[in-house]
């Protein structure tokens, strides 16, 4: 029996030890917001926060999350109020097909938690592990810059 907290809700699930955290979220808990792209931890579509630290859930076993707190894309908005990163991705065209977007916004939130006012170089370095094939990234950078702006003093 595995006990984990996802987006503030606690769950007890009985799953095989080989189950990845991503499959556990998607198929055992029905949280399909996190996506599987590459399946080998390089594209970032499955990015989630484990006790606040960004990880690739496609190469983490679900048992790693035992007793810990997981934040997925479904947990970013506060009720119906979008996280600034989510709103900026809509306003500035930071997504197209949207399949990488859950990972992009989770990564961008983690970035702004760590560096509230990142430079372009810091954005590029942090977001390096999140592939996007649609946008060419320009509008992702613009979105993150915009999301950081209201936080500036």
């Amino acid at each position: 029996m595995l006990h984990l907290t996802v987006n503030g809700t606690s769950h007890d699930v009985e799953i095989p030890t080989y189950r990845t955290l991503l499959d556990c979220l998607r198929y055992d808990l029905g949280l399909t917001g996190s996506k599987e792209g590459c399946g080998v931890g390089v594209c970032g579509a499955c990015a989630v926060l484990l006790d606040g630290t960004m990880i690739s859930s496609c190469i983490a076993l679900a048992v790693f999350a035992d007793g810990r707190e997981v934040t997925t894309v479904e947990g970013l908005a506060d009720d119906e109020r979008l996280h600034p990163v989510q709103q900026a991705f809509i306003d500035y065209g930071g997504f197209q097909c949207g399949i990488c977007t859950p990972g992009q916004v989770v990564a961008a939130k983690a970035l702004l938690d760590a560096i509230p006012d990142p430079s372009d170089a810091e954005i590029r370095e942090w977001m390096l592990g999140n592939l996007c094939r649609c946008t060419g990234y320009y509008k992702i950078i613009e979105s993150i810059r915009a999301a950081a702006r209201p936080r500036r003093p």
Binding site: G33, V40, V42, C97
Partner: protein, 733 residues
Amino acid sequence: MTDAARPHRIVGQPIGRLDGLDKVTGRGRYSADVSLPGLVWGKALRSPLPHARILRIDPSKAQALPGVLAVLTAQDLPRVLVGRRMFDMPLLARDRVRFVGEKVAAVAALDPDIAEEALALITVEYEDLPAVFDPVRAIEDGAPVLHEDPGAYDGAPPERPHPNVQSVLRFKLGDAAAGLREADRIFEHTFRTGLAHHGYIEPHAGVVAIDEDGRVQVWASNKMPFRLRELLSHAIQLPKERIRVNLTPIGGDFGGKGSLMDLPLAYYLARVTGRPVKMVMRYTEELMAGNPRHPAVITLRTGVTEDGRIVARRVTALYNSGAYAAFKPAPSVNLGGASMGAGVYRIPHLLIESFCVYTNNVPCGHARSPGEPQMVFAEESHMDMIARDLGLDPAELRRRNLLRDGDLLPNGHHLEHVRAQETLEAALEASDWAKPKPGPWIGRGVAMCHRHIGVGFTNARVRLETDGRVSLVIGLPDTGTGAHMVLRQVVAEVLGLSIDEVQIELATTDTFETDSGVGGSRVTHTGGRAAYHAAEALKEQIRAETAKLAMPTASLAELAQAAARAGRTLEASYFYDAKAHGAVTSFTAQVAEVSVDPTTGHVTVRRFTTAHDVGTIINPIGHQGQIEGGLIQGLGFALMEELRTEDGRISTLSLGDVKLPTIADIPPLTTVILHDPVGPGPFHAKAIGEGSISPVAPAVANAVADACGVRVLDLPITAEKVYFALRARAPRS
């Protein structure tokens, strides 16, 4: 059409996508996210050999594994061949495999892990057959033949100079042979490009369920639901009325998501298990067997006058099509991008011949501007090499030969509103082409192309709801481009509504008779015009209803409610069918400025300029997103992406090895928009989806040659290639 000079309210506004809420919150349900009661998982076993006879398949151990519900081999399936235009591919290999990754068995199990374990328990005995991998070798006498009688396949084109030729596509103007004899100088160069995957982040996924009444329901990452229904009807031998394809969001397409892929197997597994079946490809399978962009070998032979005017050109393209033609949708079973062998130039005597060739490699399909990045790389590199040899500025050689109003394209269409020269000059100006380069080992390269505005047919229905909002019912999926937002803006503009008052209602294949789906830069045109005319018709109905009910001051909600009480729904449909390409195209000119590291050969793109001749822009965020996304795909094709193969085995089987561009790889970008509202789309829109990808590679290649004198004739332009070319040239110490 409306008066183009009239300012628009909604069209042209940079409105953020209303479907964005689903995308940024993770609520959107893609095909892989579809869940149904009793759902089980399907997986396919693939061939490890490029060409072999199948002697025996033993599924017994897999069948005995707890949790396995079914194992299928070709023996369990009807003898049906599938394809998009030419039907040459079995659902599962019957007695012979022709590429590494070809499916030989399929499994249904309670979860994906059990299904994968079961695959490992199936034993297949093979006997190797001689194989051929290079398209040049494949059409020589005595080459191993892949298909004994390709002409017998449904949809096979008749011309077949060699059994390994799938199709021949020809474009002809004047008399190329005679023209070449009249030239002062003749230049001939051969180029190669590599195998490239589309790189969408969503692997192919699909769910097939058979309802209690026997109807087949499909959810699939497929951009042509109506064509999918037809193709599936053939593959599973049921009338198309018995099949319903439900639209889902698509996680990137770039030309790759138009085929059946695993759906027929999912159906047969659903039929034998009595359960809904989900099949999701692993990305490894995508890279091994996902209908990637054709590698090409292209030779151009151009005759010019001493002052740099093109007299004649002959182009031969060999597209390495892999083991099956099944993934190509065009009636020619070839690649229209071959026509770009003429570039953006007036060439009085022209012959382009494009051959799609069978080899024991992964079957290739359509990828964003099919066949064109390959051809534009070759053609625009060739132009640069000619310019340098003639001692002309590469921009000047282009200027002297650019298409003008009334000129003919290779397909025989004449052109109007030609803005090739303005587009070129705009790119040169914005890139400081005429200014001295900022240092040594820095170079600039220019390249151009043009791209047609796509044609096809679309159904749209608009309905006034009793809450006063308008629903647009559409059978076109949004592959990610924001097409649905464009259509909403068109309807809101016509009806004088705010954008929030127009909602999208996704059709299924039950809703309409047909729709050509997404592809070929057509959606703004065909979907936009269908939505435009349907909205115009609804506007007329609203006017008539207002008069009939004598409610001149009523709101739309009040009107709809009153009409409903009278038993009427205000609803209009329109079927728009654009059959032939018009006389208008879109030009692109790009300039790359690169630096080359002389010690490593590494190429850095210092800045990039892209200029586009466009029509009315409906949504500037989406429009610019198409330019930027296509451009960075082009940059990956130019510098880093390649599925490396060794004897038919792809050795780059993870996204970590393929090297798609990351956020750290993108250069400073300048976009120049030349606005010319003359397109066939709604409000005179043109097309943009495929406008930015093709000239990137030759612009970079030409810049590398300018920076260090190294001419790379085969893509991608890796540091190794530049390094060894520099070393070969340097005097030995």
